[in-house]
């Protein structure tokens, strides 16, 4: 840490017109019997009127003094700051220096310019340069000739795609996205039950390609994954296809530019793609959940790289999914769902809700296996054109779900073991029962998609649902 002499300190830069305006003031001050330390951020030959300007192009003094605006005038006494004036204000400068006629002909007031220390990206860079980050993660030195992208692969940090190298500056910048203490422990990440701090999440969010403003969403997703109800450990170990899917609701989806429209489940949106990926990288890197290790998926699914979307809340006909899940209206939240791949339903002839419900139910019937009953949950991602059919008929979401349940209640005889020549099935003693495909809370609807297309997506769940496996978990997104 630099030390300063008692007296007056001025921090300025040539590029600032206000700093240049004050040439005569610097000379006046120097002519008085005062100790004057002038630091120049960009050009040690500035101010021209002084001979002993201190070169602060390295910005250590400016950073140490926490200067945000130039010029800044500070009175320093007894090893500490007594007062400061920011920009040029004749009265303030005269009061602070005790020199009555200071800056005689100059305008009364002129605002200063931004200090180089606060230019975009600079605070993080300087925090790292001057060892002021308080980050606890182990430092890994990458040799000069190593390719830092290849390092991510070689060290096993990658999901198979390149990761952004987690430099200290990038991680410090990522942490500006949250008000939380980097050292705060979120919990123990399965399968290794490794302690996971906000800082570790930030490192993995950097690698996933997140922007700092996405970090609160990633943190909420990690916290949701840690809820025992979500059963992350089991979901990770399973041979099944499933992976955590992140559904985001609330104003943050617009604030960070998430996609709930065309290609909401596809590629191309940075927030959707990187938030889901960050959760997976936390599980991989902090938890140790690696394919071929504890992750024993028979086939997996592409969503294990990233599986994240925002709900389209633009049509007020139905409440946002997060509100259904108990989050106050207007708040942002993530919901985690143990999801397998998606099945498209292209029912483009139904113009009544009755027909559309039965049409979608035909696809829902095959989730998990066409003869499985109450084994899997399902999520309908309803497109705007399908939603329009329900809106025009005035159906509530509850009404739609009730009608889905009716359309998905069948004679048990078709589902028993051996029926239709297929060994798979329910116990033969249930042949005379009416059986429902889904558990009472096993079917849910969220809205997303482009404005054109009479088609919706159906996303089945992990084979272990409810009490014996994973339940939906919703967490409000903090700051």
């Amino acid at each position: 840490m630099p030390t300063f002499q008692d007296g007056f300190i001025i921090v300025a830069k040539r590029e600032c017109p206000t700093c240049e305006l004050l040439e005569s003031v610097y000379a006046e001050l120097a002519a008085h019997d005062v100790v004057l330390s002038v630091f120049s951020q960009d050009d040690p030959s500035f101010p021209d009127s002084l001979n002993d300007v201190i070169d602060d192009t390295g910005l250590e003094n400016s950073y140490s003094l926490d200067v945000e605006t130039v010029p800044t005038l500070i009175r320093w006494k007894g090893g500490k700051e007594v007062e400061r004036a920011i920009g040029w204000n004749k009265t303030e400068w005269r009061d602070l220096t005790g020199i009555n006629g200071l800056g005689g002909d100059l305008p009364e007031n002129q605002p200063g310019c931004g200090s180089i220390t606060v230019e975009p990206g600079m605070p993080e860079t300087l925090a790292v340069r001057f060892g002021d980050t308080n980050l606890e993660a182990r430092r890994i030195e990458v040799a000069a000739m190593e390719d830092d992208i290849e390092v991510g692969f070689e060290r096993g940090w990658s999901d198979g795609l390149p990761v952004v190298p987690p430099t200290e500056v990038r991680v410090v910048r990522m942490l500006t996205g949250t008000t939380r203490d980097p050292a705060e422990v979120l919990g123990n990440i399965p399968p290794n039950l490794a302690s996971c701090t906000v800082e570790k999440v930030a490192i993995n969010a950097v690698m996933a390609g997140c922007k700092p403003e996405y970090l609160p969403v990633v943190l909420a997703a990690v916290e949701a994954a840690l809820e025992p109800d979500f059963c992350m450990h089991g979901l990770l170990c399973t041979t099944h296809f499933a992976a955590p899917m992140v559904i985001v609701n609330g104003p943050i989806t617009k604030a960070i530019g998430m996609n709930s429209g065309g290609n909401a489940l596809g590629q191309g949106n940075r927030a959707n793609s990187t938030i889901g990926r960050a959760l997976q990288l936390v599980i991989r890197n902090v938890g140790g959940g690696v394919p071929g290790g504890i992750d024993r998926a028979t086939l997996g699914n592409p969503g294990k790289l990233t599986y994240c979307m925002a709900e389209d809340e633009s049509d007020p006909i139905w409440d946002p999914f997060s509100v259904d899940r108990g989050i106050a209206s207007g708040k942002s939240a993530v919901t985690l769902y143990a999801a397998e791949g998606m099945l498209g339903n292209m029912g483009d002839m139904s113009r009544t809700p009755e027909s559309l419900t039965r049409s979608l139910a035909m696809s829902l019937r095959v989730i998990g296996h066409p003869k499985k009953i109450q084994a899997h949950d399902a999520m309908i991602v309803l497109s705007p054109e399908h939603l329009r059919v329900y809106r025009e008929a005035g159906w509530s979401k509850a009404r739609a779900l009730e009608e889905f349940n009716k359309a998905l209640t069948f004679s048990g005889a078709d589902f028993i073991e051996g029926a239709h020549g297929v060994a798979e099935g329910i116990s033969p003693d249930r042949a005379d029962e009416q059986v429902s495909k889904f558990k009472p809370d096993g079917l849910n609807i969220v809205r997303a998609g482009g404005i054109a297309g009479m088609m919706s997506a159906i996303i089945g769940s992990w084979a272990a649902t409810g009490e014996r496996g994973s339940k939906l978990v919703t967490k409000e997104i903090g700051t």
Partner: protein, 94 residues
């Protein structure tokens, strides 16, 4: 000058910071062993003797060579060894 870079460890930090060597196998039984001549003089003498000794033990041995010791092995040599063998022994000589 290209400087080294510092990255922050994204893991739970339960393994050493330095990249670890692949764990050697417990046994050579049933494994196919590549003997790679890096192209330096008399490396073949060492590998010939090693092949003899391994053959006496009934091990499967395959021979490969780099065109020159001055450059890293060509990709096709690396890939062929990876496809055909479990273990590789390089002869360093001088």
């Amino acid at each position: 000058m290209i400087e080294s870079q510092i990255l922050l460890d994204p893991t739970a930090e339960v393994s050493p910071a330095k990249r670890q060597r692949v764990t050697p196998p417990d046994s050579l039984e049933g494994k196919t062993i590549a003997l790679l001549d890096i192209g330096k003089r008399r490396g073949n003498v060492f590998l010939d003797r090693l092949e003899e000794r391994m053959a006496e033990r009934g091990l499967t041995v395959k021979r490969y060579a780099k065109p020159t010791n001055t450059k890293v092995a060509p990709l096709n040599v690396v890939q062929t060894i990876a496809m055909e063998c479990d273990i590789v022994v390089e002869a360093l000589s001088d």
